[in-house]
């Protein structure tokens, strides 16, 4: 423990505060974004019909499975960001650091709930191809699995992501670990995506509200990889 502290302080003197963690977190943010986009590309339009066409789902089976693997990796990255940030954030406030970790963990679990529903939908579509089912008979389970997947994705990657963004950028701002403009941007971005999630509950889709945090996360990630955290200003050590 004493050694850790010494190393840490040395690190601060050289202006390379938690350098390794900064690079890991930066990479995880980039992986999370890249893999989300990759998943959407592979998913294609097979799940956009209303009602869902199970024949199309069965045809795009491989695409959906790759997308589901992408989102599993996304869940791991999201949880990873939460626990790699913990030792840094806890220097400001242990409770809030634990809160950030919990928010990211819940987001990851909700992404996995979405993954489970989509996988089950693929299984159902395969069954539909081989079995003797009437098309209308399978509409209720199809609707249920698709809705469950959509809702858990909305609550996870919008509402809990937004709350996480608020907590993270509040602490980053207070500790001055990154330039204030970047943390304020992140805070506003978090509020926007939280609002996006709440509006989505009512069935609207103002996708523009996701843009501020999406861009900020990439700037933040590049900043962490290229420069690392600034030495912290701690005025509330609890």
């Amino acid at each position: 423990m004493a050694e850790d502290n010494e190393e840490e302080e040395k690190g601060e003197e050289n202006g390379i505060y938690h350098r390794k963690t900064a690079i890991i977190v930066g990479l995880l943010f980039i992986i999370a974004t890249a893999i989300t986009i990759l998943g959407i590309v592979f998913m294609g339009s097979s799940l956009e019909d209303d009602p869902i066409d199970l024949v199309k789902v069965a045809d795009n089976e491989n695409g959906i499975i790759i997308a589901v693997i992408c989102w599993t990796v996304l869940a791991i990255s999201v949880a990873g960001i939460g626990f790699f940030m913990y030792p840094i954030l806890k220097k400001y406030n242990e409770g809030l650091a634990l809160g950030y970790f919990a928010l990211r963990l819940i987001e990851a679990i909700l992404i996995l709930v979405s993954v489970i529903s989509l996988q089950s939908l693929v299984t159902l579509s395969q069954e539909y191809g081989t079995g003797d089912y009437s098309p209308t008979g399978l509409e209720p389970p199809t609707t249920m699995l698709m809705a469950l997947s959509d809702w858990s994705f909305i609550i996870g990657t919008m509402i809990f992501l937004g709350l996480g963004g608020l907590v993270l950028n509040f602490i980053l701002y207070q500790m001055k670990l990154i330039p204030s403009w970047l943390s304020i941007w992140g805070f506003i971005g978090g509020a926007c995506v939280l609002l996006y999630g709440l509006i989505s509950l009512f069935g609207h889709d103002p996708a523009i509200l996701a843009a501020p945090i999406a861009v900020q996360e990439m700037v933040f990630a590049v900043f962490l990889i290229a420069k690392g955290f600034n030495p912290p200003v701690i005025n509330n050590r609890t």
Binding site: N93, G99, I106, P140, M144, M146, W151, T238
Partner: protein, 247 residues
Amino acid sequence: MVEEEENQDAEEEQAKKQKMDSYRKTAIIVGLLFISATVSYSIGIILLDPILSSSDYLTEAYENEYSMIIGAFFVLIAGVSAAGIGIMIFTILKKYNESLALGYAGARISEGLLFTVNVLFILTLLSLSQEFMKAGAPDDSYYQAFGIILIAAGDWAFILGFGVAFTISALILNYVLYQSKIVPRWISVWGFLGALLLWVYYLLQPLGNAFVGLIQVPLAVQEMVFAVWLIVKGFNLPAMGSKEEQT
């Protein structure tokens, strides 16, 4: 030299004061979260219960779309508040018992997660009811069967969240509060007994006795007393200070 020492004393004094201020703030936040959890949860139930317990829930859910969404939203706030309580009180409880403090945070985060799962099933039921109406509200269809699954799954998520995760958390919290004396012992004893009663409530619930509903009142009232105590008076600081110096 003397001056330096005085400076150091003043600094220490300053640091101590800051710490006390932050404990005071934590107490107020935890108190407000307790109130927010209870109030949002009650609003959620008032909005959702008439729809989910009606025999015609698919039509009711479709017709009362906004009650469903706003009700689900309030249950979600209750879940986030519950998790927030465990998280914010962690720094205080861990001074007395770190493993129980982590256990309490974990129990309340699980409760929040299970409430969120409950919300997922409610929203999915809403989506199902919309497809049901689109299909012309057929009397004899599998929509009803899947509606029953969703309501049952939501109920079970809630029972595990409230009846198991929350009840265990209340026992842990009041045990640590009793040991540490950071709030008066009449509050923690009351809370512990209230939590035990709640266990009895969940054991008796399958019997369907109407009177057992009253059993949850003591803990509900205790939580509000505890919340107001935290907001008005905060944690008992001298007890906390002395313990800290020992470590």
